[in-house]
Protein backbone atom coordinates (compact mmCIF):
# COMPACT_ATOMS: atom_id res chain seq x y z
CA UNK A 1 0.00 0.00 0.00
CA UNK A 2 1.24 3.43 -0.81
CA UNK A 3 1.88 5.87 1.98
CA UNK A 4 0.07 9.10 1.37
CA UNK A 5 1.73 11.69 3.52
CA UNK A 6 -0.54 14.50 2.42
CA UNK A 7 -3.64 12.62 3.54
CA UNK A 8 -2.09 11.66 6.82
CA UNK A 9 -1.27 15.27 7.56
CA UNK A 10 -4.82 16.26 6.64
CA UNK A 11 -6.22 13.67 8.99
CA UNK A 12 -4.24 15.18 11.80
CA UNK A 13 -5.96 18.49 11.04
CA UNK A 14 -9.26 16.96 12.15
CA UNK A 15 -7.85 16.59 15.63
CA UNK A 16 -7.24 20.28 15.70
CA UNK A 17 -9.36 21.11 18.75
CA UNK A 18 -7.52 18.82 21.07
CA UNK A 19 -4.19 19.98 19.67
CA UNK A 20 -5.07 23.60 20.19
CA UNK A 21 -6.12 22.92 23.75
CA UNK A 22 -2.87 21.16 24.69
CA UNK A 23 -0.94 23.84 22.88
CA UNK A 24 -2.51 26.43 25.20
CA UNK A 25 -2.63 24.35 28.39
CA UNK A 26 0.85 22.93 28.41
CA UNK A 27 2.68 26.23 28.91
CA UNK A 28 0.34 27.09 31.79
CA UNK A 29 1.13 23.78 33.43
CA UNK A 30 4.86 24.35 33.00
CA UNK A 31 4.48 27.85 34.41
CA UNK A 32 2.76 26.48 37.52
CA UNK A 33 5.55 24.02 38.12
CA UNK A 34 8.14 26.73 37.77
CA UNK A 35 6.13 28.98 40.06
CA UNK A 36 6.26 26.42 42.87
CA UNK A 37 10.02 26.69 43.21
CA UNK A 38 10.02 30.45 42.83
CA UNK A 39 7.33 30.82 45.50
CA UNK A 40 9.16 28.48 47.84
CA UNK A 41 12.32 30.55 47.48
CA UNK A 42 10.41 33.74 48.19
CA UNK A 43 8.76 32.08 51.20
CA UNK A 44 12.10 31.00 52.63
CA UNK A 45 13.64 34.42 52.17
CA UNK A 46 10.61 36.08 53.82
CA UNK A 47 10.75 33.76 56.84
CA UNK A 48 14.44 34.37 57.19
CA UNK A 49 13.91 38.13 56.97
CA UNK A 50 11.08 38.25 59.52
CA UNK A 51 12.82 36.09 62.11
CA UNK A 52 16.16 37.81 61.52
CA UNK A 53 14.50 41.17 62.20
CA UNK A 54 13.15 39.73 65.46
CA UNK A 55 16.68 38.65 66.36
CA UNK A 56 18.13 42.08 65.69
CA UNK A 57 15.52 43.72 67.91
CA UNK A 58 17.24 41.90 70.79
CA UNK A 59 20.88 41.83 69.72
CA UNK A 60 22.64 44.72 68.04
CA UNK A 61 23.63 44.22 64.44
CA UNK A 62 27.10 45.50 65.22
CA UNK A 63 27.64 42.96 68.00
CA UNK A 64 26.52 40.25 65.62
CA UNK A 65 28.86 41.03 62.78
CA UNK A 66 31.90 42.14 64.76
CA UNK A 67 31.74 40.10 67.96
CA UNK A 68 34.43 37.50 68.35
CA UNK A 69 32.55 35.26 70.74
CA UNK A 70 29.54 33.10 70.10
CA UNK A 71 28.17 31.83 73.37
CA UNK A 72 24.39 31.80 73.27
CA UNK A 73 23.67 29.40 76.14
CA UNK A 74 25.50 30.88 79.15
CA UNK A 75 24.59 33.38 81.81
CA UNK A 76 25.68 36.28 79.66
CA UNK A 77 25.02 35.16 76.12
CA UNK A 78 27.15 36.76 73.41
CA UNK A 79 26.27 36.71 69.76
CA UNK A 80 29.37 37.47 67.73
CA UNK A 81 29.04 35.49 64.52
CA UNK A 82 32.72 35.66 63.51
CA UNK A 83 33.73 32.37 65.19
CA UNK A 84 31.00 30.54 63.27
CA UNK A 85 32.07 32.18 60.01
CA UNK A 86 35.68 31.28 60.78
CA UNK A 87 34.64 27.69 61.44
CA UNK A 88 32.83 27.52 58.12
CA UNK A 89 35.75 29.07 56.27
CA UNK A 90 38.20 26.72 57.91
CA UNK A 91 36.22 23.67 56.86
CA UNK A 92 35.71 25.12 53.38
CA UNK A 93 39.39 25.90 52.96
CA UNK A 94 40.46 22.38 53.96
CA UNK A 95 37.77 20.88 51.77
CA UNK A 96 38.83 22.91 48.75
CA UNK A 97 42.48 21.96 49.20
CA UNK A 98 41.30 18.40 48.79
CA UNK A 99 38.51 18.79 46.25
CA UNK A 100 39.85 21.30 43.73
CA UNK A 101 43.14 19.63 42.78
CA UNK A 102 41.77 16.10 42.92
CA UNK A 103 38.53 17.04 41.19
CA UNK A 104 40.29 18.92 38.43
CA UNK A 105 42.92 16.25 37.93
CA UNK A 106 40.23 13.58 37.67
CA UNK A 107 38.36 15.73 35.18
CA UNK A 108 41.46 16.19 33.04
CA UNK A 109 42.16 12.49 33.17
CA UNK A 110 38.60 11.55 32.23
CA UNK A 111 38.26 14.06 29.47
CA UNK A 112 41.73 14.02 27.90
CA UNK A 113 43.41 10.74 28.69
CA UNK A 114 40.94 8.03 29.67
CA UNK A 115 39.83 5.54 27.06
CA UNK A 116 36.14 5.19 26.40
CA UNK A 117 36.00 2.02 28.53
CA UNK A 118 37.74 3.61 31.50
CA UNK A 119 35.42 6.56 31.35
CA UNK A 120 32.45 4.22 31.30
CA UNK A 121 33.61 2.68 34.58
CA UNK A 122 34.93 5.72 36.43
CA UNK A 123 32.04 8.08 35.74
CA UNK A 124 29.36 5.94 37.41
CA UNK A 125 31.67 5.38 40.38
CA UNK A 126 31.99 9.13 40.77
CA UNK A 127 28.24 9.45 40.60
CA UNK A 128 27.79 6.85 43.32
CA UNK A 129 30.22 8.81 45.45
CA UNK A 130 28.04 11.87 44.90
CA UNK A 131 24.92 9.97 45.91
CA UNK A 132 26.09 8.80 49.34
CA UNK A 133 24.04 10.52 52.07
CA UNK A 134 26.19 13.06 53.86
CA UNK A 135 25.42 11.59 57.28
CA UNK A 136 27.36 8.52 56.15
CA UNK A 137 30.30 10.75 55.27
CA UNK A 138 29.92 12.30 58.73
CA UNK A 139 30.37 9.01 60.52
CA UNK A 140 33.13 8.09 58.11
CA UNK A 141 34.92 11.24 59.29
CA UNK A 142 34.28 10.56 62.95
CA UNK A 143 34.98 6.85 63.12
CA UNK A 144 37.58 6.37 60.38
CA UNK A 145 39.36 9.53 59.28
CA UNK A 146 39.81 11.01 62.76
CA UNK A 147 41.39 7.83 64.21
CA UNK A 148 43.66 7.57 61.17
CA UNK A 149 44.71 11.19 61.56
CA UNK A 150 45.25 10.53 65.23
CA UNK A 151 48.10 8.19 64.41
CA UNK A 152 49.90 11.08 62.72
CA UNK A 153 48.86 13.94 64.96
CA UNK A 154 49.33 13.40 68.69
CA UNK A 155 46.49 14.50 70.98
CA UNK A 156 44.05 15.13 68.15
CA UNK A 157 40.68 15.70 69.81
CA UNK A 158 37.80 13.48 68.74
CA UNK A 159 36.09 16.54 67.34
CA UNK A 160 38.32 18.65 65.12
CA UNK A 161 38.18 20.71 61.93
CA UNK A 162 40.67 18.71 59.91
CA UNK A 163 38.84 15.43 59.60
CA UNK A 164 35.42 16.74 58.53
CA UNK A 165 37.21 19.28 56.32
CA UNK A 166 38.93 16.51 54.40
CA UNK A 167 35.75 14.48 54.19
CA UNK A 168 33.70 17.45 52.95
CA UNK A 169 36.41 17.77 50.30
CA UNK A 170 36.00 14.13 49.34
CA UNK A 171 32.27 14.63 49.14
CA UNK A 172 32.68 17.61 46.80
CA UNK A 173 35.20 15.89 44.47
CA UNK A 174 32.57 14.23 42.24
CA UNK A 175 30.77 17.50 41.73
CA UNK A 176 33.92 19.42 40.82
CA UNK A 177 35.17 16.55 38.66
CA UNK A 178 31.92 16.10 36.82
CA UNK A 179 31.29 19.81 36.15
CA UNK A 180 34.91 20.42 35.15
CA UNK A 181 34.83 17.42 32.89
CA UNK A 182 31.74 18.80 31.16
CA UNK A 183 33.60 22.05 30.65
CA UNK A 184 36.68 20.31 29.27
CA UNK A 185 34.65 18.06 27.00
CA UNK A 186 32.76 20.99 25.56
CA UNK A 187 35.99 22.29 24.08
CA UNK A 188 35.65 21.29 20.43
CA UNK A 189 37.91 18.56 19.12
CA UNK A 190 39.14 20.84 16.38
CA UNK A 191 41.14 22.72 19.04
CA UNK A 192 42.86 19.54 20.11
CA UNK A 193 43.54 18.59 16.51
CA UNK A 194 45.01 21.99 15.76
CA UNK A 195 47.36 21.73 18.71
CA UNK A 196 48.35 18.13 18.05
CA UNK A 197 49.02 18.92 14.41
CA UNK A 198 51.58 21.48 15.55
CA UNK A 199 53.59 18.87 17.39
CA UNK A 200 52.10 19.31 20.85
CA UNK A 201 52.11 16.33 23.16
CA UNK A 202 48.81 15.22 24.69
CA UNK A 203 49.81 16.78 27.99
CA UNK A 204 50.53 20.09 26.29
CA UNK A 205 47.21 19.93 24.51
CA UNK A 206 45.42 19.30 27.81
CA UNK A 207 47.22 21.95 29.84
CA UNK A 208 47.83 24.71 27.30
CA UNK A 209 44.84 24.50 25.00
CA UNK A 210 41.93 22.61 26.52
CA UNK A 211 42.32 23.80 30.11
CA UNK A 212 42.53 27.52 29.27
CA UNK A 213 39.66 27.15 26.82
CA UNK A 214 37.49 25.57 29.52
CA UNK A 215 38.62 27.90 32.28
CA UNK A 216 35.31 29.65 32.82
CA UNK A 217 33.45 26.37 33.29
CA UNK A 218 36.16 25.05 35.57
CA UNK A 219 36.15 28.13 37.79
CA UNK A 220 32.37 28.00 37.90
CA UNK A 221 32.61 24.40 39.08
CA UNK A 222 35.09 25.47 41.77
CA UNK A 223 32.78 28.19 43.00
CA UNK A 224 29.84 25.80 43.11
CA UNK A 225 32.05 23.34 45.00
CA UNK A 226 32.92 26.06 47.52
CA UNK A 227 29.30 26.95 47.96
CA UNK A 228 28.46 23.28 48.47
CA UNK A 229 31.16 23.03 51.16
CA UNK A 230 29.93 26.17 52.90
CA UNK A 231 26.44 24.75 53.10
CA UNK A 232 27.46 21.22 54.08
CA UNK A 233 25.81 20.34 57.38
CA UNK A 234 25.77 16.72 58.52
CA UNK A 235 29.48 16.00 58.21
CA UNK A 236 30.47 18.98 60.32
CA UNK A 237 27.61 18.50 62.77
CA UNK A 238 28.82 14.96 63.42
CA UNK A 239 32.58 15.37 63.37
CA UNK A 240 33.63 18.98 63.95
CA UNK A 241 32.29 19.45 67.47
CA UNK A 242 30.27 22.34 68.83
CA UNK A 243 32.79 24.79 70.16
CA UNK A 244 32.60 28.04 68.21
CA UNK A 245 36.14 29.33 68.10
CA UNK A 246 37.92 32.06 66.21
CA UNK A 247 40.92 29.97 65.24
CA UNK A 248 42.93 28.77 62.29
CA UNK A 249 44.18 25.70 64.13
CA UNK A 250 42.76 22.78 62.20
CA UNK A 251 43.25 20.33 65.06
CA UNK A 252 40.84 22.16 67.33
CA UNK A 253 37.19 21.49 67.81
CA UNK A 254 35.15 24.24 66.11
CA UNK A 255 31.63 24.94 64.97
CA UNK A 256 30.34 26.06 61.63
CA UNK A 257 27.24 28.11 60.85
CA UNK A 258 25.41 25.01 59.68
CA UNK A 259 26.61 23.04 62.69
CA UNK A 260 25.17 25.63 65.03
CA UNK A 261 21.82 25.66 63.24
CA UNK A 262 21.57 21.87 63.60
CA UNK A 263 22.48 22.02 67.27
CA UNK A 264 19.75 24.55 68.05
CA UNK A 265 17.17 22.92 65.81
CA UNK A 266 17.70 19.66 67.68
CA UNK A 267 16.25 21.33 70.74
CA UNK A 268 19.01 23.11 72.57
CA UNK A 269 16.98 26.31 72.68
CA UNK A 270 13.38 26.97 73.58
CA UNK A 271 11.02 28.49 71.06
CA UNK A 272 10.99 32.28 71.16
CA UNK A 273 14.29 32.65 72.99
CA UNK A 274 17.07 34.79 71.59
CA UNK A 275 19.08 31.66 70.86
CA UNK A 276 16.13 30.38 68.85
CA UNK A 277 15.98 33.54 66.76
CA UNK A 278 19.73 33.51 66.33
CA UNK A 279 19.56 30.50 64.03
CA UNK A 280 17.67 32.64 61.53
CA UNK A 281 20.30 35.33 61.67
CA UNK A 282 22.98 32.71 61.14
CA UNK A 283 20.87 31.12 58.42
CA UNK A 284 20.56 34.49 56.73
CA UNK A 285 24.33 34.94 56.87
CA UNK A 286 24.82 31.51 55.39
CA UNK A 287 22.28 32.26 52.69
CA UNK A 288 24.08 35.48 51.78
CA UNK A 289 27.36 33.58 51.50
CA UNK A 290 26.09 30.83 49.20
CA UNK A 291 24.00 33.31 47.24
CA UNK A 292 27.06 35.43 46.55
CA UNK A 293 28.97 32.33 45.50
CA UNK A 294 26.27 31.41 43.02
CA UNK A 295 26.18 34.92 41.61
CA UNK A 296 29.95 34.83 41.34
CA UNK A 297 29.87 31.55 39.50
CA UNK A 298 27.30 32.86 37.04
CA UNK A 299 29.28 36.04 36.56
CA UNK A 300 32.43 34.05 35.86
CA UNK A 301 30.80 31.76 33.35
CA UNK A 302 29.30 34.71 31.55
CA UNK A 303 32.22 37.09 31.78
CA UNK A 304 34.87 34.63 30.68
CA UNK A 305 32.76 32.67 28.24
CA UNK A 306 34.98 31.50 25.40
CA UNK A 307 33.59 31.47 21.91
CA UNK A 308 35.18 28.82 19.82
Amino acid sequence: MEVNVKNMIKQKETNRFFLRFTEKAAPVFFLLCAAISVLTTIGIILTLLVETTAFFSRVSFWEFISGTEWWPFGENPTYGVLPLIAGTMLITAIAMMVALPIGLASAIFLSEFASEQTRKIVKPVLEVLAGIPTIVYGFFALTFVTPVLNTFIQDLPVFNALSPGIVVGVMVIPMVASLSEDALRSVPNSMREAALAMGSTRLEVAMKVVLPAALSGIIASFVLGISRAIGETMIVAVAAGSTPKLTWDVTESIQTMTGYIVQVSLGDASYGSTAYYSIYAVGMTLFIFTFMMNILSQYISRRFKEDY
Binding site: E193, L196, A197, V209, A213
Partner: protein, 274 residues
Protein backbone atom coordinates in the same frame (compact mmCIF):
# COMPACT_ATOMS: atom_id res chain seq x y z
CA UNK B 1 83.69 6.35 -14.43
CA UNK B 2 80.46 8.18 -13.60
CA UNK B 3 79.24 8.71 -10.02
CA UNK B 4 75.64 7.87 -9.33
CA UNK B 5 74.68 11.51 -9.04
CA UNK B 6 76.21 12.35 -12.37
CA UNK B 7 74.53 9.44 -14.02
CA UNK B 8 71.23 10.56 -12.66
CA UNK B 9 71.85 14.05 -13.85
CA UNK B 10 72.69 12.92 -17.35
CA UNK B 11 69.64 10.75 -17.40
CA UNK B 12 67.35 13.63 -16.59
CA UNK B 13 69.21 16.01 -18.86
CA UNK B 14 68.72 13.64 -21.72
CA UNK B 15 65.14 12.70 -21.25
CA UNK B 16 63.38 15.73 -19.88
CA UNK B 17 65.73 18.46 -20.80
CA UNK B 18 63.77 21.52 -19.86
CA UNK B 19 61.19 20.24 -17.44
CA UNK B 20 62.61 21.59 -14.22
CA UNK B 21 60.16 19.83 -11.92
CA UNK B 22 61.49 16.42 -12.73
CA UNK B 23 64.74 17.17 -10.99
CA UNK B 24 62.93 18.31 -7.85
CA UNK B 25 63.54 16.12 -4.85
CA UNK B 26 60.96 13.88 -3.27
CA UNK B 27 59.85 14.86 0.22
CA UNK B 28 57.29 12.13 0.86
CA UNK B 29 57.47 8.64 -0.47
CA UNK B 30 54.27 6.69 -0.09
CA UNK B 31 54.66 3.03 -0.84
CA UNK B 32 51.84 0.48 -1.12
CA UNK B 33 49.98 2.15 1.69
CA UNK B 34 46.69 0.60 2.85
CA UNK B 35 44.42 1.93 5.55
CA UNK B 36 41.32 0.56 7.26
CA UNK B 37 38.76 2.13 9.57
CA UNK B 38 37.78 -0.97 11.53
CA UNK B 39 36.91 -3.42 8.75
CA UNK B 40 36.31 -0.84 6.05
CA UNK B 41 39.27 -0.23 3.85
CA UNK B 42 39.63 3.47 2.99
CA UNK B 43 42.95 3.51 1.11
CA UNK B 44 44.12 0.84 -1.33
CA UNK B 45 47.75 0.40 -2.19
CA UNK B 46 48.51 4.09 -2.47
CA UNK B 47 51.91 4.65 -4.05
CA UNK B 48 53.17 8.11 -4.92
CA UNK B 49 56.09 10.47 -4.46
CA UNK B 50 55.38 14.00 -3.34
CA UNK B 51 57.88 16.52 -4.67
CA UNK B 52 59.65 19.08 -2.54
CA UNK B 53 58.86 22.80 -2.87
CA UNK B 54 55.92 22.24 -5.13
CA UNK B 55 52.19 22.29 -4.74
CA UNK B 56 50.62 18.86 -4.94
CA UNK B 57 46.85 18.80 -5.28
CA UNK B 58 44.64 15.88 -4.27
CA UNK B 59 41.30 15.72 -6.05
CA UNK B 60 38.52 13.19 -6.17
CA UNK B 61 34.86 12.70 -5.30
CA UNK B 62 33.56 12.91 -1.75
CA UNK B 63 34.45 9.92 0.39
CA UNK B 64 37.29 8.74 -1.83
CA UNK B 65 39.86 9.03 0.94
CA UNK B 66 41.48 12.42 0.32
CA UNK B 67 41.28 13.52 3.96
CA UNK B 68 42.31 10.10 5.14
CA UNK B 69 45.35 10.23 2.93
CA UNK B 70 46.48 13.71 3.90
CA UNK B 71 45.96 12.93 7.58
CA UNK B 72 48.13 9.86 7.17
CA UNK B 73 51.00 12.10 6.12
CA UNK B 74 51.24 13.62 9.61
CA UNK B 75 49.78 10.59 11.39
CA UNK B 76 46.76 12.56 12.57
CA UNK B 77 44.66 9.71 11.23
CA UNK B 78 45.83 7.66 14.21
CA UNK B 79 43.53 9.70 16.45
CA UNK B 80 40.75 7.44 15.19
CA UNK B 81 41.18 4.41 17.46
CA UNK B 82 39.95 1.86 14.93
CA UNK B 83 42.55 2.75 12.29
CA UNK B 84 44.82 0.00 10.97
CA UNK B 85 47.42 0.40 8.27
CA UNK B 86 50.18 -1.30 6.35
CA UNK B 87 52.66 -0.27 3.71
CA UNK B 88 54.97 2.62 4.32
CA UNK B 89 55.18 6.38 4.19
CA UNK B 90 58.59 7.91 4.43
CA UNK B 91 59.20 11.55 5.08
CA UNK B 92 62.63 12.97 4.29
CA UNK B 93 63.90 9.46 3.91
CA UNK B 94 62.58 8.08 7.19
CA UNK B 95 59.65 5.73 7.70
CA UNK B 96 57.18 7.71 9.79
CA UNK B 97 55.58 4.56 11.19
CA UNK B 98 58.80 2.95 12.32
CA UNK B 99 58.98 2.41 16.04
CA UNK B 100 60.90 5.13 17.81
CA UNK B 101 59.94 7.72 15.20
CA UNK B 102 58.82 10.80 17.10
CA UNK B 103 55.39 11.84 15.93
CA UNK B 104 55.71 15.26 17.62
CA UNK B 105 58.81 15.93 15.54
CA UNK B 106 56.98 14.92 12.38
CA UNK B 107 54.11 17.24 13.17
CA UNK B 108 56.53 20.05 13.91
CA UNK B 109 58.11 19.65 10.48
CA UNK B 110 54.78 19.14 8.77
CA UNK B 111 52.12 21.73 9.46
CA UNK B 112 48.43 21.31 8.78
CA UNK B 113 45.60 23.64 7.89
CA UNK B 114 42.13 22.24 8.38
CA UNK B 115 38.95 22.54 6.37
CA UNK B 116 37.23 24.72 8.94
CA UNK B 117 39.29 27.48 10.52
CA UNK B 118 40.04 26.38 14.08
CA UNK B 119 41.84 29.19 15.88
CA UNK B 120 42.28 28.75 19.64
CA UNK B 121 39.97 30.88 21.79
CA UNK B 122 42.91 33.14 22.56
CA UNK B 123 44.17 36.43 21.21
CA UNK B 124 45.45 36.69 17.66
CA UNK B 125 48.95 37.08 19.04
CA UNK B 126 48.68 34.05 21.30
CA UNK B 127 47.36 31.93 18.45
CA UNK B 128 50.46 32.54 16.40
CA UNK B 129 52.81 32.38 19.38
CA UNK B 130 51.39 29.07 20.59
CA UNK B 131 53.59 26.81 18.46
CA UNK B 132 56.88 28.59 19.18
CA UNK B 133 55.97 28.66 22.86
CA UNK B 134 55.37 24.94 23.20
CA UNK B 135 58.64 24.40 21.41
CA UNK B 136 60.39 26.35 24.09
CA UNK B 137 60.72 29.85 22.67
CA UNK B 138 59.95 32.23 25.54
CA UNK B 139 61.62 35.57 24.80
CA UNK B 140 59.00 38.22 24.20
CA UNK B 141 61.08 40.00 21.56
CA UNK B 142 61.68 36.84 19.58
CA UNK B 143 57.99 35.93 19.80
CA UNK B 144 56.97 39.41 18.65
CA UNK B 145 59.19 39.00 15.65
CA UNK B 146 57.87 35.52 14.84
CA UNK B 147 54.28 36.71 15.14
CA UNK B 148 54.84 39.61 12.79
CA UNK B 149 56.76 37.53 10.28
CA UNK B 150 54.18 34.74 10.27
CA UNK B 151 51.24 37.07 9.95
CA UNK B 152 52.99 38.83 7.09
CA UNK B 153 53.70 35.45 5.53
CA UNK B 154 50.00 34.64 5.71
CA UNK B 155 49.08 38.04 4.21
CA UNK B 156 47.16 38.99 7.32
CA UNK B 157 49.48 41.42 9.07
CA UNK B 158 48.03 44.63 7.67
CA UNK B 159 44.51 43.63 8.65
CA UNK B 160 45.28 42.69 12.23
CA UNK B 161 48.40 44.57 13.30
CA UNK B 162 46.38 46.99 15.42
CA UNK B 163 44.33 44.32 17.15
CA UNK B 164 46.78 41.58 18.01
CA UNK B 165 45.45 41.28 21.55
CA UNK B 166 41.85 40.80 20.47
CA UNK B 167 40.27 37.36 20.52
CA UNK B 168 40.71 35.47 17.28
CA UNK B 169 37.03 34.57 17.20
CA UNK B 170 36.32 38.16 16.21
CA UNK B 171 37.97 37.67 12.83
CA UNK B 172 36.07 36.83 9.66
CA UNK B 173 36.17 33.25 8.39
CA UNK B 174 38.74 34.08 5.73
CA UNK B 175 40.90 35.95 8.21
CA UNK B 176 40.63 33.07 10.65
CA UNK B 177 41.82 30.67 7.99
CA UNK B 178 44.80 32.89 7.19
CA UNK B 179 45.45 33.10 10.93
CA UNK B 180 45.57 29.31 11.02
CA UNK B 181 48.05 29.41 8.17
CA UNK B 182 50.11 31.98 10.08
CA UNK B 183 49.97 29.78 13.17
CA UNK B 184 51.27 26.97 11.04
CA UNK B 185 54.07 29.10 9.53
CA UNK B 186 55.20 30.24 12.97
CA UNK B 187 57.08 27.01 13.65
CA UNK B 188 58.62 27.08 10.16
CA UNK B 189 57.54 23.68 8.92
CA UNK B 190 58.94 22.21 5.74
CA UNK B 191 55.63 20.88 4.51
CA UNK B 192 52.13 22.31 4.82
CA UNK B 193 49.16 20.00 4.48
CA UNK B 194 45.87 21.68 3.64
CA UNK B 195 42.54 19.87 3.69
CA UNK B 196 40.10 21.89 1.63
CA UNK B 197 41.33 25.13 3.19
CA UNK B 198 38.99 27.30 1.15
CA UNK B 199 35.77 25.32 1.21
CA UNK B 200 34.34 27.48 4.01
CA UNK B 201 35.42 30.74 2.39
CA UNK B 202 33.90 33.18 -0.07
CA UNK B 203 35.52 33.74 -3.49
CA UNK B 204 37.55 36.77 -2.42
CA UNK B 205 38.96 35.07 0.66
CA UNK B 206 39.57 32.00 -1.47
CA UNK B 207 41.54 34.03 -3.98
CA UNK B 208 43.67 35.40 -1.15
CA UNK B 209 44.44 31.95 0.21
CA UNK B 210 45.26 30.70 -3.31
CA UNK B 211 47.60 33.60 -3.87
CA UNK B 212 49.18 32.81 -0.55
CA UNK B 213 49.70 29.16 -1.48
CA UNK B 214 51.48 30.27 -4.64
CA UNK B 215 53.79 32.56 -2.72
CA UNK B 216 54.49 29.94 -0.04
CA UNK B 217 55.65 27.27 -2.40
CA UNK B 218 59.17 28.58 -2.79
CA UNK B 219 59.84 27.86 0.86
CA UNK B 220 57.43 25.03 1.57
CA UNK B 221 56.19 21.84 0.04
CA UNK B 222 52.44 22.01 -0.04
CA UNK B 223 49.87 19.24 -0.29
CA UNK B 224 46.36 20.54 -0.78
CA UNK B 225 43.09 18.65 -0.91
CA UNK B 226 40.46 20.41 -2.92
CA UNK B 227 37.02 19.77 -4.29
CA UNK B 228 37.47 22.55 -6.72
CA UNK B 229 39.12 21.42 -9.92
CA UNK B 230 39.74 24.92 -11.20
CA UNK B 231 41.56 25.56 -7.99
CA UNK B 232 43.73 22.51 -8.43
CA UNK B 233 44.46 23.54 -12.00
CA UNK B 234 45.28 27.11 -10.97
CA UNK B 235 47.63 26.51 -8.09
CA UNK B 236 49.18 23.07 -8.24
CA UNK B 237 52.19 21.62 -10.01
CA UNK B 238 51.15 18.02 -9.70
CA UNK B 239 47.74 16.52 -9.13
CA UNK B 240 46.68 13.15 -7.78
CA UNK B 241 43.23 11.89 -8.65
CA UNK B 242 41.78 9.57 -5.99
CA UNK B 243 38.81 7.32 -6.54
CA UNK B 244 37.38 4.87 -4.00
CA UNK B 245 40.60 4.93 -2.01
CA UNK B 246 42.89 4.35 -4.96
CA UNK B 247 45.20 6.71 -6.79
CA UNK B 248 43.93 6.55 -10.33
CA UNK B 249 46.38 9.03 -11.76
CA UNK B 250 49.22 11.16 -10.47
CA UNK B 251 50.58 13.56 -13.02
CA UNK B 252 51.71 17.06 -13.77
CA UNK B 253 48.69 19.22 -13.35
CA UNK B 254 48.73 20.54 -16.92
CA UNK B 255 48.96 17.05 -18.28
CA UNK B 256 46.32 15.60 -16.01
CA UNK B 257 43.78 18.24 -16.89
CA UNK B 258 44.54 18.53 -20.59
CA UNK B 259 45.39 14.98 -21.49
CA UNK B 260 44.47 12.48 -18.79
CA UNK B 261 45.68 8.95 -19.28
CA UNK B 262 42.87 7.18 -17.49
CA UNK B 263 39.30 7.16 -18.66
CA UNK B 264 37.99 7.65 -15.08
CA UNK B 265 40.12 10.77 -14.62
CA UNK B 266 38.71 12.20 -17.80
CA UNK B 267 35.16 11.44 -16.72
CA UNK B 268 35.76 13.13 -13.40
CA UNK B 269 37.41 16.30 -14.66
CA UNK B 270 34.87 16.75 -17.39
CA UNK B 271 32.13 16.43 -14.79
CA UNK B 272 30.62 13.20 -15.95
CA UNK B 273 30.52 11.95 -12.37
CA UNK B 274 31.44 12.91 -8.83
Amino acid sequence: MNTAAERKHTFFANTVADEQEYVSKTIYNVDHFNLWYGDDQALYDVTLAIPENQVTAIIGPSGCGKSTFIKSLNRMVELVPSVKMNGSISYAGQDIFSSGYKVEQLRTDVGMVFQNPNPFPKSIYENVAYGPKIHGIRKKKVLDEIVEKSLKGAALWDEVKDRLQENASGLSGGQQQRLCIARCLAIEPDVILMDEPTSALDPIATAKVEELVQSLKKDYSIVIVTHNMQQAARISDKTAFFLNGEVVEFEHTDKLFSNPEDRRTEDYITGRFG
